[in-house]
């Protein structure tokens, strides 16, 4: 009876203690571990590429009159990191943060507010300011974009009027 127990003790001594003292010790994180994402509001355009890539709709866009809100709800996130892959500016970064336990779901939300460009003709708000500015920079190539900051509907109307005037001579 005694012998097997003695054997066990020797085996246990060889193995040592494997238990991690987690809350008092660092967690076991590998390099490729993905946790909560972080959105850098100073670089984000509000283009919505991450929203289309998100498989679980953790990232959503809330549109209102003059503001576009990019809402990240970590409670629904599956930490796949696709949003960081598709982000054209690299505003979204995957952090190693996983200690997200909370009593209120509101704590898991992260909101980035984008103000929209105002159309000078009809006064409608249509595209986030940084995105509009980027398109202007890319398309104008130094020159001044004529109807770039005009909303699509007004742009169409103005364009048609211009064409009619040209044809009429």
């Amino acid at each position: 009876m005694v012998k097997p127990i003695l054997k066990l003790i020797t085996v246990a001594k060889e193995a040592g203690v494997v238990t991690r003292k987690y809350p008092y010790d660092s967690p076991l994180l590998t390099e490729e571990f993905r946790g909560k994402i972080e959105i850098d509001a100073s670089i984000c355009w509000g283009c919505g590429a991450c929203v289309k890539a998100c498989p679980s709709n953790a990232l959503t866009i809330r549109e209102s009159m003059d503001v576009r809100e990019l809402v990240y709800f970590a409670g629904r996130c599956i930490f796949c990191g696709r949003c960081a892959d598709v982000c054209p500016t690299g505003a979204i970064k995957v952090t190693k943060e996983f200690e997200l336990a909370t009593e209120e779901l509101e704590d898991l939300e992260q909101v980035v507010i984008h103000r929209k460009v105002k159309c000078p003709i009809c006064g409608k708000h249509f595209v986030p300011q940084p995105l509009g500015r980027y398109v202007c920079e890319k398309c104008a190539k130094g020159g001044v974009p004529t109807y770039m900051m005009v909303c699509p509907e007004c742009r169409r109307k103005v364009g048609v009027k211009k064409m009619i005037r040209c044809k009429g001579g």
Partner: protein
Amino acid sequence: MRVRTPRALKRSIWVFHLNTGSCNACDIEILDVLAPFMDAERFGVKLVASPRHADVALLTGPITRETLPKVVNALRAMPRPRLVLAIGACAVSGGIWHDSYSVIGGFPRLKKILEENGVVIDRVVYVPGCPARPEAIIYGLAVLVGLLKKKVRKEVKEAGER
């Protein structure tokens, strides 16, 4: 800093594992928590077979329609204070099934159904993750009992002007 805890939890926490139609990933992480490597028994956490013995229900899964009556019964059988640890993205908010027809979609919606049926839940802690790490579950338990304070907070940022 210590937060005031319910009286019943000054001693060991007995947990009941309640799977409500999850994919078993969170369940395996719960096994990891109880196994010697993470060893939640350091804090007196013990798995029990009946909800009548349990202090905390470890709820995983998006609560399918099929499991709903059983979940309500199991939670009703628990003694007060009734504490719930919602583990995984599915239990927190429905996860990738949030708009599916066959699930209730997370604990917040279940809570309303429970209130209609007269089952009071005293405290809930949500542990997001898909699946939640064993460390995250231990952290959630510590938040539930009041050993640690929560870290996350709602962030509202305005896009910067260039």
